[in-house]
Symmetry: D2
Subunit: 299 residues, 4 copies
């Protein structure tokens, strides 16, 4: 039995809400159809940019089910199932598998930061991988969680047969290179920072789960293919072209920025759920400028 | 109609789990009976040290119901109902009220730290206070959440008729004094740091919600009463006596420490729920030493 | 031979520069005369708010000499002599002693933060205390330096015969209480945060080195005397009155704020030395407002 | 007049001290001769790893003079001249130029972090560039200083005729790419993190100032040349080979590690100056292992 291949670009898509802040599966299907018309390798639902923290268990399940329906069979569906407790994470992973997810992405628990020692994280991920019917991806997002998955900790779990890879959201590419050199060859590392996607590919990630790929999927996929083809100069140039948009979506505007950017390009996924505010006008026009400059550069 | 009085000491009690990590309401009732035999003003369930992040909605409700049964009518029951989304927080606050909570304690949302601007927090707390049938306490715990409730933000919400106070968990007593001076007279600020309870009382908090009060309730209440009586020298001396235990429970050992300390003094509330580990042996003996020294000093 | 007493309030005075950013000893003498007319216990020169980081060795010596001339014999002169290297710190402490300093205040080295282990700090302070002809005060200012002097590290050096005390600049009063409880009785701890001076006195500091005492020396001394006399209610009220000014000088405006505040009250100590900018107009008017409100409250 | 070219690899060499912690120019010349036998483009003296913070002005001058004597004319000598005050930085830059430095590297002032606004930094660097007889390099090392030189701030100064480039010590390669895209074409950015040298070259830096280049100069130069030649696979493999050594020298062991590593390979530059401790035995053997593995991989 071969391992699932994660090579390529994944879009960590937002979860649409309507004006009353209810889950909006109609808008979701429309947006998925749009992404299916691009060369994206797959879709991640209920990641950080999917506002997973703001939806309840029943809504999570409906989101996964809607995604499964809307995603062509050749593409991979990954569902975020990280919860603060180990038992809830196992439960959510089982439900995700039943609803058609091909793999689950499991963020480090983080509420009790100081107790999330390497041993505690290893126990957690072992239990989750043992309990999940589908393969597990580790997920480190230290800037949001305050918890670091050190290369040595990753290495301790990288040989578990049901842990096939990891998403690392930080932009420290030296650190990413260190993880690459710490894990066995089959372990698939995915970059989470769109602004350092090209250099991350240089040091050996197998692909990316990139918020900017929701908005500029073709460009992200082209960077991936250019590096595969050894055409580094063009890859670097294209990375520079998406940089401004990637930075705005990543660190500055977050989910409100992602939903605003999608609306700007004609893909309506509604507004963030409170307490997340909609992006204010100034941010919207900064985003518009960055998207216009990208289109000009690409033309 | 008068405002609910929050003067005194509250214990933010742990949620007992059995060896299979299931909610254990039998152990809970036993522990509550013990706290009811002390001069504590009230009980907080499902706060940070109640492992609220690790229980699901149904368990939350059973915990509040069990607490209401076990708490004498003269004492105040406060339930932690903070969730990441505004709508879930409102819903949890309504359920808590129905189950008998006298007030709710609402932690700042924190997953999307960078978007938790003063305006976003004001909107969130307004919606929660408007929707909650019982009074609301703001709750800031920046060391865990990375989100600060600035004095100016507190002041903007302190006159809402259904927001009666706030728990501030940090130990920066100058900051606490600044909040005291920013809010109207009736607004009740509660200290959350046991190691600075006495100096917090000095600058004007009306009481405390202190993890150390689960273990040493009498001493905490005596500090409160000594300050009321103007007996500062004795209050300071007693604060020094509880300091080592308070520090260990606060920053170093967290929930695993609190559950271990309770076990040491004969109050079995089980073990933490994974991924929270049980306190390792070295920590247990450090705690035993600190508790022994407290008992000697008090003798 | 008795230990030098450090009880009371010290002003960590700014170093005056003229419009060409040269050391201005004329302005300095004028300002010192003004402070000598107040009940301050002593003066600290070349502390953090003395812009020690911006003056060279020759200017440091002239500053200490000018201070010694301008300070009446009954008052204590403390000179900041912390340098990054141990040898330079010893040398500066010797020169300070020769020039009349009664004691030296030695900030933790901090450039190589990660190497400043407890052992490295203990070795550094031992060498400095062995080499200094006058008593040494430890000095921790973690918010600026990123280096913490843990209570256990302080305790390891608190019995050195030439280390008589410590300045702790942080506002975590629980931490201050922990240091108090870790050191032998004669060791004198001084608070460095004006916004938590009263609660710091409550937990046992022997006095304070407070930027706000440069501007409001009488009020700070009165807080000290009120606590000595057990008049806590008045002390708390007075602390509240100085709070806004203390906060602005402490964390928000720093040295530019201190020099601006002194100018507002008619004490001209010139402008900060570049790269430190002068306080911008908006800050000056915020400071004016806070000072006006203090005067009204005191009236 | 052409701009000085900074393409290639620079070694930021340690400053040798003898057993009495005195500047040891004899050892320095021996070490320089060794580096001159490698393909390094140039040498940086008195950078962070040159313990600049621990030497006085007279020693700084002797270090620069000794370096100038020991460095062949075809190689570039860069001297670190950043001081906390603008005037001292200008003075040190002039002296460095007189003593033969080809350019100066000017770290951001950092003691008064909160006041180091973009405007303050722009004023500082303008004054330094106006006053320095030789070209100036900006230098950002946020992990040590707590001060960030944002791309927009760099861009504001990148057209000053006497500012020819910048060293960025952080490992966030997306951030490095953003600086590259913010500055005019001639502005030369140098990477400061050896563990992300290869991906930094990918995004467009013109070279590196790398602590690991003191120990493994040939390997670092080869990575540079491989990228120039478009041989990315070999560059990536070589980066992986130096990674462990680079990480140890960078974040974990700092200057004590650098001096220990040089001793291990037979280049004696003495011990660090206190308060910097020598590397403890455990660290030495970890370094030995990493160096042995590098040699094996290279063989």
């Amino acid at each position: 039995m071969g391992t699932m291949k994660l090579a390529g670009v994944f879009a960590p898509v937002p979860t649409p809400f309507d004006e009353q802040h209810r889950l909006d599966t109609v808008r979701f299907r429309g947006a998925l159809a749009r992404w299916m018309a691009t060369p994206l390798t797959g879709i991640v639902v209920l990641g950080s940019s999917g506002e997973a923290a703001l939806v309840d268990e029943e809504e999570s399940e409906r989101t996964i089910a809607a995604a499964r329906e809307g995603i062509a069979s050749g593409r991979t569906l990954i569902a975020g199932t990280g919860r603060e407790s180990t038992r809830a994470t196992v439960h959510a992973s089982r439900r995700a598998a039943e609803l058609g997810a091909d793999a689950v992405l499991v963020r480090t628990p983080s509420f009790f930061k100081q107790q999330m020692t390497p041993d505690a994280l290893v126990s957690h991920y072992t239990a989750v991988a043992d309990g999940s019917p589908v393969p597990v991806l580790l997920y480190s997002f230290a800037a949001l969680t305050g918890v670091t998955l050190a290369p040595a900790t990753v290495a301790r779990r990288a040989r578990h047969p049901n842990i096939i890879g990891m998403k690392e959201s930080g932009g420290d590419v030296g650190h990413i290179g260190e993880i690459v050199s710490s894990v066995p060859p089959g372990f698939q590392l995915l970059a989470g920072s769109g602004s350092s996607f090209y250099p991350s590919l240089c040091v050996g990630v197998s692909g990316g789960i990139l918020a900017v790929a929701c908005v500029l999927p073709e460009a992200c996929c082209r960077i991936f293919n250019l590096v595969r083809a050894g055409q580094h100069d063009q890859a670097r140039a294209l990375q520079q072209e998406i940089l401004a948009v990637a930075r705005l979506l990543g660190t500055r505007y977050g989910v409100p920025g992602l939903k605003a950017a999608l609306r700007i390009i004609g893909c309506d996924v509604g507004v963030p759920r409170p307490p997340l505010p909609a992006l204010e006008e100034k941010g919207v026009s900064t985003l518009k400028d960055a998207l216009s400059r990208f289109i000009e550069a690409a033309a």
